[in-house]
């Protein structure tokens, strides 16, 4: 018998269908849990609302990412084309009134930087990439990519308790309730 104490990740409960999961998610939300999540084989419309997920902070990151791109473009185009090496093309002025020629660069860099911020901001907010997840220790959880609908309530949630959370999940229709322990010793 191993004497190592394993860390408890939380409870995992299975639900019969997407709609059962949806209704259960509303109840978990109303019960006031914070650290919990739903796992489904495919995206379920409106589930974020049922879970009470708040608006992401990502748009603010993207705004500043885009702004950085925009300012980079102005600086780049203006410095090279006006300050350092003024190029006269088709009798166009080499000063700030050449700005239409800079527009494509401003647009492209704004979009590029916004895109990068979106991608990397999303990865950071989702804490990706990661090599493992404690739930992978559960055998039944493998079905989540096939036909399993799960809710996991983490032990770090302030409202978590070994008994009442289990009975709560049972009450809202969860089956195969399992206490998942972290594999890492």
């Amino acid at each position: 018998m191993s004497t190592t104490v394993k860390r408890v990740y939380g409870y995992l409960a299975e639900f019969e269908s997407a709609s059962a999961l949806y209704k259960a998610a509303e109840k978990v939300r109303d019960a006031g849990f914070q650290k919990w999540d739903c796992f489904t084989p495919y995206p379920v419309h409106g589930l974020d609302h049922a879970m009470g997920v708040k608006r992401s902070i990502l748009p603010y990151f993207v705004f500043f990412g885009g702004l950085t791109g925009f300012l980079t473009a102005i600086t780049l185009a203006y410095t090279t084309q006006v300050v350092i090496y003024p190029t006269v093309v088709q009798a166009k002025p080499a000063n700030i009134f050449t700005v239409p020629a800079f527009f494509p660069i401003m647009f492209e860099l704004t979009v590029l930087f916004s895109g990068f911020t979106t991608l990397f901001g999303l990865l950071a907010l989702c804490q990706l990439p990661r090599l493992n997840h404690p739930l992978f220790a559960s055998k039944q959880f493998h079905r989540v990519t096939d036909d399993g609908f799960f809710i996991a309530v983490e032990a770090r949630d302030p409202k978590f308790s070994a008994e009442s959370t289990k009975s709560f999940l049972d009450e809202i229709g969860g089956g195969n309730i399992e206490l998942v322990e972290d594999d890492n010793k």
Partner: protein, 456 residues
């Protein structure tokens, strides 16, 4: 809404806006538009520049009014064409989100075939002489060649370099083909929207509604989308770009399309909001639809800016005489105020205002926003059409004499208002007629529940 909509919430006979409820407005609009159109036609068709005589005192007024009329006509035409676009796009792309607002799209689009009434003056030489210089040049070439040659040969012989340009463009810019296109626009796109709306309405009362019409509409929308694209592009080219035959821009058709799609969406938003405020459509249209339509407005605001900048940018960069004439006229003097104003008010202002997602779901805000966009579209079309007025009317009046540029056309803005009110009343009458003539949404469409329970 608020709850899951089921077939119990959809009345079997659909919802109808009774004509008596809007009868007063319709009657007033009809009276204004009939009287106004008859009076305008009578005025536009007077021969003010008789052969071999001095132009009469009415001539500058008539020339000026021809431009007012074209402006107002083209403004409402773009909105109607946009209605056709949204209907056909919805069907061809197999969409489900907008089934509950599709009838409104059809109602806006079905104004289009009737717009031919307001476009008729363009067919008459009394109006054409003011608007389309190339038609006058064709006639002058024939006269100067002694009247024996055809137009094409005559253009070859005058020796005027501008006539050479007209010769090169003769395959497209000739009176016969131009008139044929005039009828093709209304015929083909009119047929498209008429068929789409007819099938859609037939579904409303079908005791055994199936998916057959849905697929039929989708199939016919596949050529309909082509009809929309060609009509929007070539009405713009024939009637507006043709005001200055020397000028050409490959972006112009897309430019007209961008304004067209944006502003018909604004009208669709206004109609659906006003109907809901009066207790209709409530079961099937909700904040999710408002959100999507707001997003489309937002997207097309950007698209308009993208296209109008591209047009400016290509011409500015290449700096070719034939292309720059458009902006020489519009980016100098007082017209430049309008040009800059459009950039700020037609792009930056709506862009920033529509950026947030919650404002798109606010009906109060979207009523303001849609009205704002429609006003700016007025300015946009004004900026396309009216700058040609001063130089063109002046040059027609002073042909053979010393050119006094920038003739002051008295009270031209007053005639703009007259033309706008007359055609606008006609548009409103036709729109209300379409809205009251059928159920307010396709109540037996297979996708109506999908649309009513939309979540985006």
């Amino acid at each position: 809404m608020g709850h899951h909509v089921t077939s119990k919430d959809i009345p079997a006979a659909g919802e109808h806006l009774d004509r008596s409820k809007v009868g007063g407005i319709m009657r007033i609009c009809l009276i204004i538009t009939v009287l106004g159109t008859v009076a305008s036609f009578a005025f536009l068709l007077i021969d003010t520049t008789p052969e071999g005589e001095e132009a009469t005192a009415l001539a500058p007024w008539q020339g000026s009014f021809a431009y007012s009329w074209l402006w107002a006509m083209f403004y409402f035409l773009t909105i109607a064409m946009g209605g056709c676009f949204w209907t056909v796009l919805h069907n061809v792309s197999n969409s489900g989100w907008g089934t509950s607002v599709r009838r409104t799209m059809e109602n806006v689009g079905f104004v289009f075939p009737f717009m031919i009434v307001f476009a008729i003056p363009l067919l008459f030489p009394q109006v054409q002489q003011w608007l389309y210089e190339w038609m006058t040049a064709h006639k002058a070439a024939v006269v100067s060649a002694g009247g024996e040659m055809g137009v094409k040969d005559a253009l070859h012989h005058t020796g005027d370099p501008h006539d050479h340009l007209l010769l090169k463009k003769f395959f497209y810019l000739n009176q016969g083909f131009w008139s044929v296109r005039f009828f093709l626009f209304f015929g083909v796109l009119g047929l498209t929207i008429w068929l789409q709306r007819k099938w859609s309405i037939a579904q409303d009362t079908d005791p055994k509604p199936t998916t057959a019409r849905l697929f039929k509409q989708r199939w016919h929308a596949s050529w309909g989308i082509l009809a929309v694209a060609l009509t929007v592009t070539f009405t713009g080219i024939d009637w507006v770009m043709g005001l200055d035959y020397k000028w050409f821009s490959t972006m112009f058709g897309v430019y007209v399309f961008a304004g067209s799609a944006l502003n018909s969406m604004a009208v669709i938003i206004l109609v659906t909001i006003i109907l809901r405020r009066n207790g209709y459509l409530k079961n099937v249209v909700g904040p999710e639809h408002d959100h999507i339509m707001g997003k489309l407005c937002f997207a097309f605001t950007i698209f308009w800016a993208y296209v109008s900048f591209s047009q400016y940018f290509l011409i500015w960069y290449a700096n070719i005489t034939e292309e720059t004439s458009y902006f020489l006229l519009r980016n100098t003097g007082n017209w430049n105020v309008v040009s800059i104003g459009l950039v700020a008010l037609h792009f930056f202002a709506p862009f920033l205002m529509l950026l947030r997602s919650d404002v798109k779901k606010s009906n109060k805000f979207m009523i303001f926003m849609a009205s704002y966009l429609l006003v700016l579209h007025m300015v946009d079309v004004y900026h396309m059409v009216i700058p040609e007025r001063g130089p063109s009317v002046t040059s027609v009046l002073s042909h053979g004499h010393e050119v006094k540029l920038w003739l002051d056309i008295p009270a031209a803005w007053l005639m703009d208002i007259v033309a706008f009110v007359v055609i606008g009343s006609g548009f409103l009458f036709l729109l209300l007629r379409n809205i009251t003539s059928a159920s307010l949404y396709p109540n037996r469409d297979p996708r109506i529940l999908e649309s009513a329970n939309l979540h985006n």
